[in-house]
């Protein structure tokens, strides 16, 4: 059984910027341990001479013409914003 501690669950939740309740921490600790055990299977293979694949197509340098195009009007850019202040998205203070 791959183990993940309570502190590790809280650590990845912080990395992922997700607040978890105590109940969620307990539930996810068990579920993440089961998932990690299942995916740990990848370590069984001898992969010493195998390069990684990040992407299934062998394309590189897909250039675009460096030509300016129209942008969305600002009112549309902000149409879904939870909080707008003029031409800025407003958030609580950092």
């Amino acid at each position: 059984m791959a183990r993940i501690t309570r502190d590790e669950v809280l650590h990845v939740a912080r990395l992922a910027r997700i607040e978890l309740s105590d109940d969620e921490v307990a539930k996810f600790q068990e579920q993440l341990a089961n998932i990690l055990e299942a995916v740990s299977k990848v370590s069984e293979l001898d992969l010493s001479d195998v390069p990684p694949t990040a992407h299934p197509l062998e394309i590189a340098n897909a250039w675009a013409e460096d030509v300016p195009r129209d942008c969305l009007p600002l009112d549309e850019v902000f149409a879904n914003a939870p909080d707008r202040d003029g031409d800025y998205f407003r958030t609580p203070p950092a």
Binding site: I4, E8, V9, H11, V12, A13, L15, A16, R17, I18, E19, L20, S21, E24, F28, Q31, L32, N34, I35, L36, A38, V39, S40, K41, V42, S43, E44, L45, L47, V50, P51, P52, T53, A54, H55, P56, L57, I59, A62, A64, L72, E76, V77, A79, N80, A81, P82, D83, F89, T91, P92, P93, A94
Partner: protein, 468 residues
């Protein structure tokens, strides 16, 4: 003119239009009526468009695909109020052909799941038996096409989300070759795997819709030029070399009724002139699911970082920025995205990167090479699409790992970037069984030809028995 939405293919619906036997509005209205009649039971749609503009026939659209002015939630509370201000490229392509969006279909949240039970807005139901799942994540599009609520639909497939629902609901679905269909304007899950594709009642409709949505798009730099699509007409399979990977046809958990239906289809293929030979993908099936559930969550953890309550979507209160972001994501994301984001963050984090993500990327190379080698000898590979027929709602929802195994047969070719298509090949316990045809990169035309000939020979009735 009555428009029989249960029976009409898209090609036939379009025929009514071009022969002026029915107007675009009459056809659209007929599908709206069908939705009004059957969707309260099926919950295929999250949003129904009362009168989308256009001169052509309707299309249903999975709710991860952005539609200007029409809500696009990805099945998530965090996007419940989101209304895109631009069309995705695939929708723009559909609109150029006059297609009218009839509604947005249900999906597991952020396309993460294989039953639609992970939708924040409740599951969809299988038209063959509403106590069962329609598959997922594209269960809404699948249920809509199966029950005649739309002549065809768009889905998206990361590890099986078009093919598996098509199998469980008994119709045709194509996951195209990676890079042939633009992802611009589509809610991102795992960008090296996500592909939009057609969901249809028959192979010709599927091929036509693929021709509408595919092709290079300057807004998605992973797209490439695509060979011209040939609408299939072949009735035989002369000269076709079919490979039957033994690991995909003998995997643990494949139901007897599924194996029997696939075997009959293979015998039929031989009688149509194909050569059928056993072959092997020794590591792709054994290691595919583990590889996928590292690569996809890793990419998801990066892609879903954008849901921070700042520019669009839900925002929860917080005394400072960090607290606002963390509360927003806790309130807005369901359990499955949370699990996958955390698994991804873990697999990418310092100290674990090489052991998990780095290793999974190497396994991906192994899987790709195994498939490439088989396509030196074969034109298509065949297996069941799903190890089981549609399972009861609730049967697997509390066991994420068991749920992940639904995709054991669809995942390997997705990791390799290859096209795969489902056609129905029979019934088991009164429920549809799906046959998966996998082709080489850009091998869509070969798959369409083979699937069309098989479809004609099998003669499967795609209308669910209880609706006939």
């Amino acid at each position: 003119m009555t428009v029989d939405t249960l029976r009409l293919s898209a090609e036939e619906a379009n025929g009514l239009l071009t022969r002026r036997e029915a107007s675009s509005d009459e056809i659209y209205r007929a599908y709206l009526d069908a939705i009004g009649e059957r969707d309260p039971e099926l919950h295929a749609f999250l949003y129904v468009c009362e009168n989308d503009p256009g001169e052509g026939i309707p299309i249903a659209v999975k709710d991860v695909i952005g539609t200007r002015g029409i809500p696009t939630t990805a099945g998530s509370k965090i996007l419940e109020s989101y209304i895109p201000v631009y069309d995705s490229t695939v929708i723009a392509n559909c609109r150029e052909r006059g297609l009218r969006v009839i509604g947005k279909t249900n999906t597991d949240e952020f396309a993460m799941g294989s039953s639609t039970e992970n939708s924040a807005f409740g599951p969809s139901h299988n038209p063959w038996d509403p106590s069962r799942v329609p598959g997922g994540s594209g269960g809404g599009s699948a249920a809509a096409v199966s029950a005649g609520l739309a002549p065809w639909a768009l889905g998206s497939d990361t590890g099986g989300s078009i093919k598996q629902p098509a199998a469980l609901c008994g119709h045709v679905g194509l996951r195209p070759t990676y890079g042939t269909v633009s992802r611009y304007g589509v809610v991102a899950f795992a960008s090296s795997l996500d592909q939009v594709g057609p969901v249809a009642r028959n192979v010709r409709d599927c091929a036509f819709l693929y021709s509408v949505i595919s092709g290079r798009d300057e807004n998605d730099s992973t797209t490439v030029d695509v060979p011209a699509v040939e609408l299939p007409t072949a009735e035989d399979l002369k000269g076709l070399r079919i490979g039957v990977p033994k690991e995909m046809n003998g995997a643990a958990g494949i139901e007897g009724g599924v194996t029997a239906a696939v075997q009959s289809a293979l015998e039929l293929a031989e009688s149509l002139g194909a050569s059928v030979e056993e072959c092997s993908l020794p590591r792709s099936v054994d290691y595919g699911v583990a590889c996928y559930y590292l690569v996809a969550p890793a990419e998801a953890s990066a892609n879903l970082a954008r849901y921070d309550g700042v520019r669009y979507g839900l925002r929860d209160d917080g005394a400072d920025f960090r607290e606002m972001v963390m509360k927003t994501r806790d309130a807005g994301l369901g359990d499955e995205p949370k699990r996958r984001i955390m698994i991804g963050a873990y697999a990418l984090s310092a100290g674990y990167y090489d052991a998990y993500y780095g290793t999974a990327q190497k396994v991906r190379t192994v899987i790709k090479r195994e498939h490439d080698a088989l396509f030196e000898r074969f034109d298509v590979l065949v297996s069941p699409t799903s190890p089981t027929v549609a399972f009861p709602i609730g049967a697997k929802i509390d066991d994420p790992v068991a749920m992940y195994m639904n995709d054991v047969l669809t995942i390997p070719s997705c990791m390799a970037g290859l096209p795969g298509l489902n056609i129905p090949c029979g019934l088991s316990e009164g429920l549809p069984v799906g046959l998966q045809l996998i082709g080489p990169q850009f091998g869509e035309n070969t798959i369409f030809r083979a699937a069309h000939a098989l479809e004609q020979a099998i003669g499967f009735d795609v209308v669910p028995e209880r609706l006939r």
